[in-house]
Amino acid sequence: MTRRELLALLSAAPVALKAAPDAPTAPVSIAKCAAYNDDVTATLGTMFDQIGGLERIVKGKTVTIKLNLTGSPGLRLQGRPLGVTHYTHPKLVGATAYLMGRAGAKRIRFVESGWALSGPLEEYMLDSGWNVRSLASAAPGVEFENTNNLGKGKRYARLKVPGTPYMYPAFDLNHAFEDTDVFVSMAKLKNHETCGVTLSLKNCFGNTPASIYGDNSGVDEPNEKPTSGRGAVCHAGERQPSRSAPQEIHFGANHDAGYRVPHIVADIVAARPVDLAIIDGIESMAGGEGPWIRSKPLRLVQPGVLIAGTNPVTSDAVATAVMGYNPRADRGTSPFQTCDNTLLLAERHGIGTTDLKRIEVVGVPIAQALYKYEA
């Protein structure tokens, strides 16, 4: 693909959905970073400066960082470490904690709803090969919270979807999503079997606790020991979440995961806005979001890029373009062949623009960072 072809692709508008002219925009930083052994901290620090500085976002604040640790830590692509395939890499996580601590963050809380996890997130991280003690000492006030259930909280936080929700009027989430001043989505640059791409928006699908939205969640009340994913409730719409939580609005109307999951993600991000998106594209995988995917061939990739922005839609739009896709592609067009485009749905919620012409890219231009995920 030449630069000219790329620009033509990026300016192509989908037929069904027009760009929302008033959706907010924000600059997105792209940086080259060839390996995790490079100076990730310095690179990330420069990127934060390029998008307005970290201090103004986190100083004196409680920061909650949603990681992407999808799937059991035991499932690995070709036996490789999780951080070079489908998890956010621990070195990037450590660098982020360090920089946030240096910028004056009061508390840095790492969160994730680990697969079938009812115990502490720290043990899940240990099982992922992370040095939790190092991470905990990367900055003052580092904490960990398993958001797959109540975690250390005493009650679930109810976060309402503003405006007109697609699927759910509100979500019951772990307290960490409410008890925070700043919410960060730290994602991986990956394809996704159900949603085409999984970036900072799709990463938030994991905000939902499996205790309520999981296949073996309680019918009436949450099951605090969830052991499954969210297939029945979220992907297939075969059942409602626990009755204690807000119920799906049009339950039974649609069972297509390619429709449901992107719409649910857009609702989640509307309910719990993302203040900072960080996308790990140093090393990753193409073809799907984890080694369990069978529908497409999976391969290891080394795009060698980091992407960051204060708006998750603009950040994901740029990231999608870096992967060689049109971020405004409609359903039926790669990478959204069998699904709706989460980015466009989030744009329609007024979260941010997908129009690359309205997004200031700082650092490395998209064309120079381009790494085609379609072989």
Binding site: P73, R76, Q78, G79, A116, E123, D127, R133, W292
Partner: protein, 458 residues
């Protein structure tokens, strides 16, 4: 003469065995300076003279030679011939009748006889210094047609292993257990694979009878350099385990006991012991006829696989265990069905696997996040074994990695307060590690595990 010869050789319990395809004395150079001290040679009466010369040369180097005799005809005659040819002893490999075995014993006495038989016919609990079987799975992570690893119920990759069977076999008595399975035919066997199969047996105190694939055998004989490198890796791996003889005296350290006999799955691979092992929960195997208060001492949980098979006295032991605060889980009533290995099958069938899933959920719920000796993290491609010294002042964690890649950042949380830790690997000198306090006791971080490692704490 024979007696004098034997004096120069190691005793059978110390034999480190390898199948040997050659009778040329120059091939003995391959084992010079290695732990291999016992060669299993297929007995061929037509090569009596060469075998005698080979056995003599081997004996001069302190190496035992064993004639392997397989079913077909009267085994006593070739056994007698082999001993006359000055081989050290005889290996009966196959399904021999007890009568045939006794005839051989009478024919060659006092030369040692080692039986490599069906798992179900191993003389478990006998006074034999070495017992063995040729029936084994080839250890490793099975890969499906699309190249992905086969996953177990925990979401982790499933690991084919003989470790559970070997744990069970060793629990019956004090015999050294040999597992003498061969590499799978028509497949590429890497140096890592050989290191894994050695570690798979050694971490639970057994010995794999080294058996090289046809291609490696041929290339080794030709002096091919890469083949010699693989052989060097194999012998280094053997050396790693044989260099620490004191570890063999360590006993299993586990608060979870599995009471399981020959008739209800103890000798099958892929059963309860392997499933618990894959979860890295330290476990002790207890055969029903060894079920006594002392064999449950220190245990806080027990799984009784087949309650119906226990005698009244054995049930009393379990009652006393629960009365003293122990948690007991009893297996499903139909577990016993067809759980005995046969000539061709040493793993569970689909129905048994389904049944195992059911009992596994119960075991998993019972264990929870409890620390039953040690908890290990980032070890999904590994198996482990937790041991303790007889005085209880040291614990040893054996680790074997079955993946094709090294694993970094392994964390171990051991029950109890330990002040010092050392890491042993085949590749590097022993290394002192930092220990730190965790809620459960003592934590240690290991930077990297290639195939084998042992962590010792005191």
């Amino acid at each position: 003469m024979l007696f004098a010869l034997l004096l120069t050789l190691a005793v059978p319990t110390d034999w480190v065995p390898a199948r040997w395809h050659w009778l040329e004395t120059k091939t003995l150079e391959l084992i010079s300076g290695t732990p291999v001290n016992c060669l299993l040679v297929d007995w061929d009466p037509r090569q009596k003279t060469q075998a005698a010369a080979f056995a003599g040369a081997a004996a001069e180097r302190g190496i035992a030679t064993l004639a392997v005799i397989r079913p077909g005809g009267d085994p006593a005659e070739p056994a007698r011939d082999a001993i006359r040819a000055k081989l050290t002893g005889v290996v009966l490999e196959g399904d021999f009748s007890p009568d045939a075995t006794e005839r051989v014993r009478a024919a060659v006495s006092p030369a040692p006889i080692i039986e490599l038989t069906l798992r179900s016919r191993m003389p478990l609990g006998s006074k034999a210094p070495v017992i063995g079987t040729w029936q084994g799975v080839w250890p490793g992570i099975p890969v499906m047609e699309d190249g992905a690893a086969k996953a177990g119920p925990s979401g982790s990759p499933w690991i084919n292993t003989n470790a559970g069977f070997l744990r069970a076999a060793r629990a019956f008595g004090d015999s050294i257990v040999w597992i003498a399975n061969s590499p799978p035919p028509k497949s590429v066997v890497t140096a890592e694979n050989y290191a894994q199969v050695i570690g798979d047996a050694a971490m639970v105190g057994a010995r794999w009878v080294v058996a090289l694939d046809d291609d490696l055998t041929r290339r080794l004989h030709e002096g091919d350099k890469p083949a010699l490198q693989v052989w060097s890796r194999i012998t280094r791996q053997l050396q790693f385990y044989e260099a620490h003889q004191d570890w063999r005296a360590f006993r299993t350290y586990a608060k979870l006991a599995v009471i399981q006999g020959v008739n209800n799955g103890a000798l099958l691979s892929g059963g309860i012991l392997d499933m618990i092992g894959a979860r890295h929960t330290p476990v002790r195997a207890v055969p029903p006829d060894r079920l006594r208060p002392d064999t449950l001492a220190g245990a806080s949980m027990a799984v009784n696989v087949d309650a119906a098979s226990l005698t009244p006295q054995q049930r009393e032991v379990l009652k006393a265990f629960t009365r003293s605060g122990g948690t007991l889980l009893t297996g499903p009533a139909d577990w016993k069905e067809s759980a005995v290995p046969d000539k061709d099958k040493i793993t569970l069938d689909d129905k048994q696997t389904k049944r195992l899933d059911d009992i596994w959920h119960d075991i998993n719920s019972m264990i929870g996040r409890g620390n039953l000796g040690a908890r290990l993290f980032n070890v999904s491609s590994m198996l482990s074994n937790l041991l303790t010294s007889t005085d209880g002042k040291q614990v040893l964690v054996h680790l074997v990695n079955y993946s094709s890649y090294p694993v970094d950042n392994v964390t171990v949380h051991v029950l109890g307060d330990f002040h010092r830790a050392w890491l042993y690997t085949p590749e590097t000198p022993e290394k002192k590690l930092d220990v730190y306090k965790v809620d459960e006791g003592t934590g240690v971080d290991i930077d990297l595990v290639n195939v084998s490692a042992a962590l010792r704490l005191e």
